[in-house]
Symmetry: C2
Subunit: 514 residues, 2 copies
């Protein structure tokens, strides 16, 4: 019997590393997604919505050693399928299928799937939202690239994050060029690049040790790399590099540096230059980048919110037993100074579409926003009382009720008729699903739902074609404390007017953090 009960308990949970989005969380999430997609649309991006799974071959060989994190579907006959790992590869597959598309600005908002060890506190989930914008097609140097960075700034401005983030910026060509100049052998460039990428969470000595001891790099070469990759700045750093004859003698680095100069000019025009940090240690994990790369980090350590009782329990259970992190690209959160890790990242990838269609010649540049992390930080920010402008609210505008004495019918049909009138005026309306509800029950329901107004039916008023409109929570003594009588034909317009007027009063409530 006890065993049977345990079995029932077992059933009712969501899969590990996933969450249900509900209540205030889903509203805030929707607000964030709406803000981001509004920015994307302003820049001319069109939505693309691809299936949650792809044919196995489409994903195969695109993610390096992270391929082991891909979820496969069971072979139940027919095609072998895998859940999407990101939104970039499905976009490249779509571009390859649509050979007539020569230019495309696409955005996508979808969940992606990684069979990683979940670490809720680090914002690492198995199912999480990504929100991407990518420009496919020719662009003269850095024009489209600069627009993507302009979009990053606009997105975080729209989320009122001003001053809370930095866009780390580098270029694969500068990085590869400086490795060549320092004397890194051709075949070690990618692996040394990966080591350098760890400088945001490890001290130089550790990274050097990896280069020299694990990866067999000459110590003098490593020391020379240090003189570059510990540098970050803005135009000043760029000016220094331009005077570096060794570096400017390398064709790749020279092109990267010159285009970085162009980029910074354009970033001034996008009013984005002060948000960037030109950071020679930024390398990014994925192989397919071919030019500019960037990653958005939050400044200071943002408190992390564990969402929902289930994930909190999960976290507790895991304790310190977490296995070694597989997804290096996502794991920038060990160092408290970078808080929850990167909240957006991307770059230029000019040859990915060619993996699906040879000679496709569709250079791309884009950025992916990590919406779950942006949500957690925004929620924590609101909990601390920081400013956030809500777009949406779930509360009804008005609650319809009916009062009466002995022998009162409950006026269920009449409440529906009044509800319908208010709905047709575009208002959000609720009422109590009881035939004869008590007044105090209806008031309590209205309060619980958060309705700012009530429309109250009574048999006497009804006979005169009137109902009572009452603002909830008015203080005693207020002239309209008992509400005002309104003729039913005027009801929709009158309640709409009052709801609109009330919306103009600034909202002060904060999200409750559970």
């Amino acid at each position: 019997m006890a065993k049977d009960k345990d079995k029932k308990q077992e059933l009712i949970k969501n899969p590990k590393g996933t969450r249900d989005w509900s209540g205030e969380d889903v509203d805030l999430l929707e607000d964030i997604l709406a803000q981001i997609s509004r920015v994307f649309r302003r820049h001319g991006a069109k939505k693309l919505d691809t299936p949650v799974f792809e044919r196995e071959e489409v994903l195969k060989g695109k993610y390096g050693e992270d391929s082991k994190l891909i979820y496969d579907l069971k072979d139940q006959g027919g095609e072998l399928l895998s859940l999407r790992y990101d939104l970039t590869v499905p976009f490249a597959r779509w571009l390859a299928m649509n050979a007539n598309v020569k230019n495309y600005k696409r955005f996508a908002i979808s969940k992606v799937y990684r069979r990683d060890q979940p670490a809720i506190a680090k914002g690492r989930m198995r199912e999480f939202y990504q929100c991407d914008i990518d420009f496919a097609g020719a662009s003269d140097a850095m024009i489209a690239d600069s627009e993507v960075i302009g979009i990053v700034v606009e997105v975080f401005e729209s989320l009122e994050w001003t001053g809370r983030y930095t866009i780390k910026l580098n270029d694969r060509r500068i990085l590869d060029g400086l490795f060549e100049v320092c004397g890194v052998p051709e075949d070690k460039i990618r692996t040394i690049s990966s080591a350098v990428d760890k400088l945001d969470k490890s001290p130089w000595e550790e990274v050097k040790k990896e280069m020299v001891e694990t990866k067999g790099l000459d110590e003098a070469v490593a020391d020379k790399i240090r003189t570059y990759v510990t540098r970050k700045g803005g135009k000043d750093l760029l000016e220094e590099l331009k005077k570096d004859e060794a570096l400017m003698g390398n064709a790749k680095a020279k092109q990267g540096i010159e285009e970085m100069d162009t980029l910074m000019e354009y970033l001034t025009a996008w009013n984005a230059l002060d948000k960037i940090s030109f950071d020679l240690s930024l390398a990014r994990g994925l192989d397919y980048y071919t030019g500019i790369i960037y990653e958005v980090v939050t400044e200071g350590s943002a408190p992390v919110i564990a969402d929902g009782a289930e994930v909190a329990k999960e976290l507790h259970k895991q304790g310190k037993k977490e296995k070694k992190v597989l997804d290096e690209d996502e794991d920038r959160s060990n160092d408290p100074s970078v808080g929850i890790g990167s909240v957006a990242a991307g770059g230029r990838y000019d040859h990915l579409v060619e993996r699906f269609r040879p000679n496709a010649d569709l250079p791309c540049v884009g950025v992916s926003f990590g919406v779950d992390r942006i949500f957690s930080i925004t929620k924590a920010r609101i909990a601390k009382g920081e400013k956030f402008t809500y777009i949406s609210s779930n509360a009804p505008d008005v609650y319809v009720m009916a009062f009466g004495g002995g022998g009162f019918s409950g006026m269920a049909k009449e409440r529906i008729e009044i509800t319908k009138i208010l709905l047709d005026a575009g208002l959000k309306v609720e009422f109590t699903y009881k035939k004869k509800p008590k007044p105090q029950v209806q008031f309590k329901n209205a309060e619980t739902a958060g309705a700012p107004f009530a429309v109250i039916l009574g048999e006497d008023e009804q006979a005169k074609g009137e109902v009572r409109v009452k603002e909830m929570g008015l203080p005693d003594g207020h002239p309209e404390k008992e509400g005002v009588l309104v003729k039913i034909p005027d009801l929709g317009a009158e309640v709409s007017r009052r709801v609109e007027a009330k919306k103009l009063v600034p909202k002060t409530e904060n999200l409750t953090v559970s």
Copy 2:
């Protein structure tokens, strides 16, 4: 070599029975989803977004013989998972997990997965959207139920489908009661119910044959059933049944009939009574319904649009070789008189949550909209020139360009600056990613993007702090054919004003059907 090329071709397709939503299709889909969720929110529903997969046990034993259509994930260690089959069971799982929830109005918009034989022309896909609203918690008889039907009417009104659909309505209690009255043995009720449910696509004789020959029902009993299940109507049919002493002598049927009377009273208040057809042949496939059931069918056979080249090819390949339909519940499309099949369906299910949490006592009623089918019919309707009010448009509001003579710099940075000014005014803006684009290229790009306005930079105007604002496509001789000069500080406001004014002119273009 040829083989290698074939292999490349093989790679670039989306999985069978799925589609990519892009271009005008995704805009129309988003408009439909926005309209539906706006209606849901007006009725106080809150969004719930659950994971795409559930633990295998959660789905097991919930869908009868359709369980074989569930997609399972490969066992890669850890939990055994399956893709969601609908949105109802995940909602019930969530309710069971959140024992504090006694009342909830939830809506959900998500894709669901069925490993069925795809039949694009019938709107049967392996991945498709559902859009559900469900009310959990106590309601006096038919109050919440009537609101769900009110919502169905509002949804189709918001989609401008007036007069194109019928809500078929029945009650499981009436149906079960009449089977008892006719003499159907207890253990045959569900199977005879399933046979009756086929009356919308098969003639009576065939259904009778199934009852008598396959299911062993007494012929006289079948003939008696016929006298009921061939009847449909409205209040008239209800009045007839109320006079049927045999039926009113059955407790279940009596309760169903009396509550149907209450329902019709409330439906009058919702202004929904004329949309329903009380249809004694409606039975619905799923076992878990306990009261009212409904299904929305389109009137006349709506032309069906195959979406995308890939699915068209798929369709062609399949030809007549389609295997027997497994998902009876979804397959109402053989009879041309019901067109694409049901576009929404639902009912009351008072005991599903108890499957996950005994004694949960959370009665539910809800409806699920088949968005892919609604999309196909709406698209066909627009193609025929019928009215549809677009909410959104992908076209930019304004295209920024620069013209100049020999030695012209291209003004890339200046174009970005002007773009940024217009974006900050909330406008949708695009420009050409060329350093020195030719005027005709920029004009062509503006036209292709569908921008109604251009802002044109020139070096002389720039020197005076001005740009030219030009409405695209004005006829020769129009006083503003060459555009008007605007001071840069006034630009955002001036272009916004013109864009708004232009939006007031009714849109006449139709979606191109590809």
